[in-house]
C-alpha cells in the first residue's frame, strides 16, 4: 500500500471515527432527552369560603375568585403573583381556609399564609426542605405539615416560625392527618402504619399496622380513625390508646379516595370500580356497586339524596345512597377527575386535571364547565 493510499485511508478513518463519535453522542443526548422521572402535576381539591373559590387552575398557581352569574370564573388574585419570584411545581395539598387566612403548601414545600381577600402574604413564605403531598392540618395556633421525608413540621399560624418537628422517620406521608382530643393521627405510606402523636409534645402515643400503604386522607368517624389502604381495605382504628382496630372492610381494589362519613354510614370507593356503604360502627357491608372499568380516585360526595362517584377518566355515576342502585350516569369526555370535589353554590364542583372547573348537578348528572372550557 503506497503512502497516499495510506494517507487517504487514515483520513477516512479519522472522518469515520468522528462521524461515529458524533452519532453516538447524539444517540446519548437524544436518549437522555427522552428520559426523566415522573413529574408531579398536583391534584389539589378546590376550597371555598363563602362565594370565594380557591383552586389550582394552572399548575403551580392557586387562583382566588368567584363564579359570575354568566357562569365564568372571575379571578381576584393568584399565588404566586407575577411579581413573586416563585416557580412552584404544583399542589396536591388542598388549600385550607382559617378565618381570613388561606394556607397553601406546594409540592416543593413552600408554605404560605395569604389574606383571602387580597392574596397578600401574612408572613413571608416558608420553604421547607422536603416535598409535600399531604394536605396540612390546622389545629389551634399551629399548622402541621407532613412531608414526603416522613417528618411532621409544626409551624406557628401567626408567624410561620417552626415550632417543632416530630416523627422524623423515613417513609412518605401522602394522607392528610387528622386531630382529635390533643392527638394527631398520621398515616404512613411506605411504613404502612398509622401513628398517633401527642400534639403538645410530639411524643408518639401509639402506632398500628395498617396492612398496606396509607395513601387516602384519614377521616374521623366519632371515636374511630378511618384509613383507606393499599392493602385494599378500610381500617377503623380506635382513636384512644392503643389504637385497636375495631373493624376492617376488605375490598378488591386499592383505596386512595378518602372515605365519606354520613351519619352512621361510611361510603368508600376503590381503584377497581367499587363503591360501597358500610355500617360505621361494625364495618358491615350494606351494599356494593361495581363497575370494573372505573377507577375512583376522587372522594365520593353526597348531595340532594344522591351519592356521586367520579372516575378518573370523567365517567360519573349517581347512586342511591340507601341501596347503591344506579340513578344516572354521565360520561364527560377528556375530564380527568383526580381531585376531591366540593359542594359550591348548590352544585358539586370538580376541578379537572387540566385546571377546568366543572359544575355537576346531583339530581341528573348534568355538567357544565366553568372556566377553561365554556367559561
Amino acid at each position: 500500500m503506497n503512502r497516499s493510499a495510506r494517507f487517504f485511508g487514515a483520513m477516512f478513518h479519522v472522518k469515520h471515527r468522528a462521524r461515529l463519535a458524533v452519532a453516538l453522542g447524539l444517540v446519548a443526548l437524544l436518549a437522555t432527552g427522552c428520559v426523566g422521572l415522573s413529574s408531579p402535576e398536583g391534584w389539589a381539591a378546590p376550597a371555598a369560603d363563602g362565594d370565594q373559590l380557591f383552586a389550582q387552575l394552572d399548575r403551580g398557581t392557586i387562583s382566588a375568585g368567584s363564579i359570575t352569574a354568566a357562569g365564568s370564573f372571575s379571578e381576584d388574585w393568584r399565588f404566586p403573583a407575577e411579581t413573586d419570584d416563585l416557580d412552584l411545581e404544583g399542589f396536591y395539598a388542598t388549600p385550607l381556609v382559617d378565618d381570613d387566612t388561606l394556607f397553601v403548601v406546594s409540592y416543593d414545600g413552600v408554605v404560605a399564609a395569604l389574606d383571602t381577600r387580597t392574596g397578600r402574604p401574612i408572613w413571608p413564605v416558608v420553604e421547607l426542605d422536603a416535598t409535600v403531598v399531604a394536605t396540612p392540618l390546622v389545629d389551634g395556633r399551629a399548622i402541621y405539615v407532613a412531608t414526603e421525608d416522613g417528618d411532621v413540621i409544626v409551624l406557628d399560624v401567626d408567624s410561620g416560625a417552626e415550632i417543632d418537628r416530630f416523627l422524623e422517620r423515613d417513609g412518605r406521608v401522602w394522607a392528610a392527618p387528622v386531630a382529635s382530643s390533643g392527638t394527631i393521627f398520621v398515616g404512613k405510606l411506605d411504613a404502612r402504619e398509622l401513628w398517633a402523636v401527642q400534639s403538645s409534645s410530639g411524643d408518639i402515643a401509639w402506632s398500628q399496622d395498617a396492612g398496606g400503604g396509607l395513601s387516602a386522607d384519614l377521616v374521623l368517624a366519632g371515636d374511630l380513625v378511618l384509613a383507606g389502604s393499599l392493602d385494599r381495605s378500610i381500617h377503623a382504628f380506635d382513636t384512644s390508646s392503643p389504637g385497636a382496630e375495631r373493624w376492617r372492610y376488605q375490598a378488591s381494589g386499592w383505596i386512595v379516595a378518602a372515605p365519606l362519613v354520613a351519619g352512621d354510614v361510611v361510603y368508600g370507593a376503590t381503584l377497581r370500580g367499587e363503591v360501597f356503604a358500610l355500617d360505621a360502627v361494625s364495618g358491615d357491608e350494606k351494599w356494593k356497586y361495581t363497575d370494573s372499568d372505573l377507577e375512583f380516585r376522587a372522594q365520593l360526595v353526597l348531595r340532594n339524596g344522591v351519592l356521586v362517584a367520579a372516575d378518573r377518566d370523567g365517567r360519573v355515576r349517581g347512586l342511591d345512597p340507601s341501596n347503591g342502585e344506579l340513578r344516572w350516569e354521565s360520561d364527560l369526555d377528556n375530564a380527568k377527575l383526580f381531585a376531591d370535589p366540593i359542594v359550591f353554590d348548590g352544585s358539586i364542583l370538580y376541578l379537572t386535571k387540566d385546571g377546568d372547573l366543572l359544575r355537576l348537578e346531583a339530581a341528573d348528572g348534568a355538567a357544565s364547565f366553568v372556566s377553561g372550557r365554556g367559561g
Binding site: 503506497n2 453522542g25 436518549a31 422521572l37 401522602w174 411506605d190 398496606g212 392493602d231 383526580f338
Partner: protein
Amino acid sequence: MPIGAIWQTVLETPLINMMVGLTALSFGSFGLAILLFTLLSRALLFPLTLRTLNATRAMQSIAPQVEEIKKKYSDPRRRSEETMKLYKESGVNPLGCLGPQLIQFPIFIALYQVIRITLATTPESMVNLSHRLYDIDVIQNAAPLSTQFLWIDMADNGGPFLTGVVFASMWLQQRISTGRNAATQSDQQRQMNQMMQWMLPAMFAWFVLAVPSGLGLYWGASTIIGIILQWKFVGPGDFTWASLIPNIVRNQVGMDRLPEADPKKNGRRPAASQQSADSATETETEPQDGNNGDQRKNGRRRRRSRSRSARSSSRSSRRRGRSGG
C-alpha cells in the same frame, strides 16, 4: 392494535408485574428484585449467549487464515470477499456477537418504563400503577415498593458509584472481546473497536447518570454476568489484569513495557513489521501465479502510483528551481 398497546401488553405490563412479584419475593427490596431479574433474563438468554461465545471461539480459531487473506489480498473488496467466503465455509457469523446485545436493548428500554411506573414516585404514578397490576394478592399488596437498596435510591438518577461500575464493567467487556478478535479484524475494524471500547462505556455511563439507578443496577449486573460467562466459556483472550498497569507506572516500578496496542495509530509501524509488509508487497507485485488477476491489477496500480509520484517530484523540483532563480 397500535404498536404502543402491543408493547404495553406483551412486554411492559408483564414486566411490571414480574418486578413487583420479585420485589415481594425479595423481602420487599426492589434492588434485590432487579438483581434477581438480571439473573433470570441472563439465564433465559443463555442459549443465545452460548451460541455467540461459540461463534467468537470459532472466529478465534480461523484467525490465522483471516490473517493470511489479509496478507495475500491488498484490494479491500477482494479481501472482504475472501474473508466472507472463509466465514461462510467455517460456519462463522461475524455479526453473531450482536445478538444478546440487541435483545437486551428492548429489555433495557422496557425496564426504564417499568422502573418509572412501579416505583410510583408521584401520586399520579401510584394511581396509574393500580390498573397495570394483575389481580393477584402478592402483587397487589406489594405496593408501595421501597426505593431504597443499600445506600442507593432506585428512583433517583444514577450516582457516581453506579456510573463507575457500569463504565468499568463495559470497558472490561469491550477490552476482552476486542482484544481476542484483534487478529481477525481489519485496521478499520480495529480502530473502530478501540474507539468503541471507550465510547460505549462512556455513553452508557452517561445514560446511568440520566436514568433511575435501578436501570444502572440492571445494566451493571448484566454486564458483569456477561464478563463472567465470556471469561468462563471463551477465556480472557490476550487480556491480563497486569495489562491494566499503564507504561508510565511500569517505567517507574521497573516492569516490562506493554507493546503498542495499535502500531498504525500514529501512522507508523515497527521496523520489523514494516519490513515484513514490504516483503509482502514485493510478493504481490511479482505474482507467482500468472493467472492471479487481482495481484496483477495491484501491481499495475502500484506502478502507476510510482510514476505519478516521480512526476510530482520532478514538478516540485522545477518549482523549487524557479523560485530559487
